[in-house]
Structures are given as structure tokens and as C-alpha cells.
């Protein structure tokens, strides 16, 4: 795996976590610590933390089947104009659809749909960009927060 190209690339954190329920909170706190020097607005930081937690939970559950010995790998980069968090699991098969439509809450309340299924929708609404990709060995989700420009999620 290669880091994204940028003339001003800085790795802020790179770590792995076992796929155990609850570890998404460890992921979000470690990412928050890694970006603490960037001066993100509080609202942006809270949204980033939620996106990281949900993406990590998806990776642990759907990619790694909550098998503790299979890690989730997390990398945090400060690029020239953005912050990028990459979360990689070891799952095969097709990656989750990046089309995170608003779940049908009415159908969930009527019992027609499962009450679950909020993760990708939440992630998509917490960051400026969500990129999803996969190959036979990995799923990768990238979360992007613009640090300049008009499209700041914060």
C-alpha cells in the first residue's frame, strides 16, 4: 500500500488494533490525539471521531468478523489541503457500497427493516469525502476532511 501523493505529506499516526468490540473508541481517541496539533474546530473534530469510530467498527465487524487476531490498520495523514484517515481491514469480497442513502426510518419504526444500518450513512455525513475500495484481501475506506476551501465539513 502506498501513501497518497502530495508535496506536503506528513504521517500523523499509523497503528493497528485487534478486532474486538469497543476498540472503535480506542481508534477514535488515537486519531483525535494525532490531529490535536491541527487546530480543527470542535465540531469538525467530533464529526471526524464519529466517522473514524464507525469506519473502524465496520472494518472489525464486516471485514474481520470480530476475530481479535485480525487487525484493523489505521493511518492518518496531513496532506497539503486535507486530512486523510485510511482504515483497512482484511476482508475479501466486494467492498461496502459508497452510496450511503438515508436509511428509511419510517420502515424501521414499522418493523419492515432492521433498526440497524446507520454506519455508512453516518460516516458519509461526517466528512467531506468518503472513498471505499477493495481487492481480494482488503477493504479500504478513506475519510477526507478539507482543511481549506469552501467545502469544509466543519
Amino acid at each position: 500500500m502506498t501513501a497518497p501523493r502530495s508535496d506536503a505529506r506528513r504521517t500523523l499516526a499509523e497503528f493497528s488494533l485487534p478486532s474486538e468490540p469497543g476498540n472503535e473508541r480506542r481508534a477514535m481517541e488515537r486519531v483525535a490525539e494525532a490531529v490535536s496539533g491541527l487546530g480543527l474546530p470542535e465540531r469538525t473534530l467530533e464529526k471526524l471521531k464519529t466517522a473514524v469510530a464507525e469506519a473502524t467498527m465496520n472494518a472489525m465487524e464486516h471485514g474481520n468478523n470480530y476475530e481479535p487476531e485480525i487487525p484493523v490498520d489505521i493511518q492518518v495523514w496531513h496532506l497539503e489541503n486535507c486530512l486523510l484517515v485510511r482504515i483497512v481491514d482484511r476482508g475479501g469480497g466486494p467492498p461496502p457500497s459508497p452510496n450511503a442513502e438515508l436509511p428509511d426510518l419510517e420502515a424501521k419504526l414499522e418493523g419492515v427493516q432492521t433498526p440497524r444500518g446507520w454506519g455508512l450513512f453516518l460516516i458519509r455525513n461526517m466528512v467531506d469525502e468518503m472513498r471505499v475500495s477493495g481487492n481480494p484481501d482488503h477493504h479500504t475506506i478513506e475519510l477526507v476532511i478539507y482543511l481549506k476551501g469552501d467545502d469544509d465539513a466543519g
Partner: protein, 118 residues
């Protein structure tokens, strides 16, 4: 970071039952939340208020648990209200449209006031 599992207690106030929630609302919270709701519902209140002042984390599984409570409240024609959410979680309740189906209030006083008016 140590897990901060959910604790819940129920109290009766004029106009409704209040669920005081403390900790995290995630997959570990299902049993506690359901038992507390059972206890609140058993008293037959017109409204049940969820007090989130002591809640520091809600994930997508927690959102699903709240959807489940909302479905139970609707089925029994009971109002479900929420108060004490941080600004971040108020925004999440808006994005998910949860706030279209349950009343979201800043504090207990305003939530109880709404219950007593209606």
C-alpha cells in the same frame, strides 16, 4: 480506553417517566436500555423521557437501539422525548431524522414543560 458501559435508572416525574442514562450507548447497552425501558413502561406513563446528560458516546448500534425504543413507544401510543444531548449528537439526531419522530429538548425542564402542555 476502558469501556464505559451504560447504567440506567428510572424515576417518575409529573407528566412522565425519566430514564437517566450514564455511559455509552453501543452494542453493550441493549440489555440495560431495554430493561430500563420495561421498568418505565410498566408504570404506564403518557411519555418517557430519555436523559442523555450522562451519555458521552452513541454509535450506530446505539442509534439502532434508540430506533427500537421509538418503535415500542409508537406501538403503545406513548411519547418519547430526549434531552441533554451534546450539540454533536443533536446534529446526528437531525441527520438521521430521529428528531422528526421524538422531541429533542435541551434540558429536563423544557422537556417536562412540553409534556405538561400537550
Amino acid at each position: 480506553m476502558p469501556a464505559n458501559h451504560l447504567e440506567a435508572s428510572v424515576r417518575r416525574e409529573p407528566g412522565g417517566a425519566v430514564l437517566d442514562l450514564r455511559g455509552e450507548i453501543n452494542g453493550f447497552a441493549e440489555e440495560t436500555l431495554s430493561a430500563a425501558y420495561d421498568e418505565a413502561e410498566a408504570r404506564g406513563p403518557d411519555a418517557i423521557l430519555l436523559n442523555f446528560e450522562g451519555v458521552d458516546y452513541i454509535n450506530s448500534t446505539g442509534i439502532a437501539l434508540i430506533v427500537g425504543l421509538l418503535a415500542r413507544a409508537r406501538a403503545s401510543k406513548r411519547r418519547l422525548l430526549a434531552y441533554g444531548l451534546s450539540d454533536h449528537y443533536v446534529e446526528i439526531f437531525e441527520i438521521t431524522r430521529l428528531s422528526d419522530f421524538l422531541g429533542v429538548f435541551p434540558d429536563e425542564e423544557s422537556a417536562l414543560s412540553e409534556v405538561s402542555v400537550s
